[in-house]
């Protein structure tokens, strides 16, 4: 059930972003800078929303600490993205990708909220591992290559080490929760 949930969580992002070898012959979406900005903000906001649920529902100190870190870090990234697009006079523009990501996040939130107290921690951290893997793939294979503005591209490149550290941290917590 939990494996199914993790696969379900990563599926929408993979479907949208990952290359055809995933088995789903989807075309890589073409995004302009204002659309990339929107995707970046939505991707970060989604993880803040997941963290808020964890802060409300979990009693596990390690999960709570991880969730606080996710909320703070992703807000920091949003703040810097907003500062950059304001400077560049770019208005983030909703698009098919950002809309689907937001819709999928709502489903994930619903799923997390429906979990029992005993199964919540594992469901949350499994989703964090899957979500960060999908977002890293999206940033590296879609957003960075397609960004036209050099400062936007640099910001996206600067985010990658943060996302990878989050993934490493999530996998460490997951190994403890899975025991």
């Amino acid at each position: 059930m939990l494996k199914t949930f993790a696969a379900w969580a990563v599926f929408p992002m993979a479907l949208l972003f990952l290359q055809p070898q995933s088995g789903f012959a989807q075309q890589t979406p073409k995004l302009a800078d204002d659309e990339i900005a929107s995707v970046a903000v939505v991707a970060n906001q989604n993880d803040i929303d997941f963290a808020k649920i964890a802060e409300k529902r979990s009693k596990n100190a390690e999960i709570l600490k991880f969730a606080r870190t996710m909320a703070a870090d992703h807000q920091s990234v949003i703040d810097q993205a907003v500062a950059l697009v304001t400077k560049l006079k770019v208005t983030p523009k909703d698009n098919a990708v950002s809309k689907k990501m937001a819709a999928d996040a709502k489903k994930t939130q619903k799923m997390l909220n429906a979990k029992s107290a005993n199964s919540f921690d594992k469901a949350y951290i499994d989703n964090e591992v899957a979500y960060h893997k999908a977002v890293i793939a999206a940033v590296e294979t879609v957003l960075i290559p397609q960004a036209q503005n050099a400062e936007l591209k640099a910001l996206l490149q600067a985010v990658v080490p943060t996302l990878k550290t989050h993934l490493e941290h999530a996998e460490m917590v997951q190994s403890h929760i899975s025991k």
């Binding site: 870190t69 703070a72 870090d73 920091s76 990234v77 810097q80 600067a158 985010v159 080490p161 943060t162 990878k164 550290t165 989050h166 490493e168 941290h169 460490m172």
Partner: protein
């Protein structure tokens, strides 16, 4: 003048070896502590391992886009406050220690006192 003064002669004789000694052998040079910098960048402490002398100062500078801290492990015997992007923190190093970022626990560093 001193030759005529027996007391002065003895003082000269006593002082001579000291003068010779002080001019021929120098006392160990006093170590002047230096300052090293560890950049916190791309979610890493750079350099991750730093060798210093006791009393040296180490400055950690957060060049990342998220907040970090610098905390001794395993006992948290010393810790910086939360360092927002652009902020820095310094400490005089007294002994070798491992440290990490308590916010991002996979970020680790080491101080080695020679």
């Amino acid at each position: 003048m001193n030759i005529r003064n027996p007391r002065g002669n003895s003082l000269l004789i006593l002082a001579f070896p000291l003068i010779v000694l002080s001019s021929c052998s120098s006392a160990p040079e006093k170590y002047i502590p230096k300052t090293d910098t560890v950049m916190i960048s791309q979610m890493k402490f750079q350099p991750a391992e730093l060798t210093v002398h006791k009393g040296d100062t180490v400055v950690w500078v957060n060049k990342d886009m998220v907040a970090h801290d610098v905390t001794q492990v395993p006992s948290s015997t010393w810790s910086s406050k939360s360092l927002a992007p652009g902020q820095s923190w310094k400490m005089s190093v007294e002994e070798s220690d491992d440290y990490f970022c308590s916010v991002h626990v996979v970020m680790v560093g080491k101080l080695i006192v020679q």
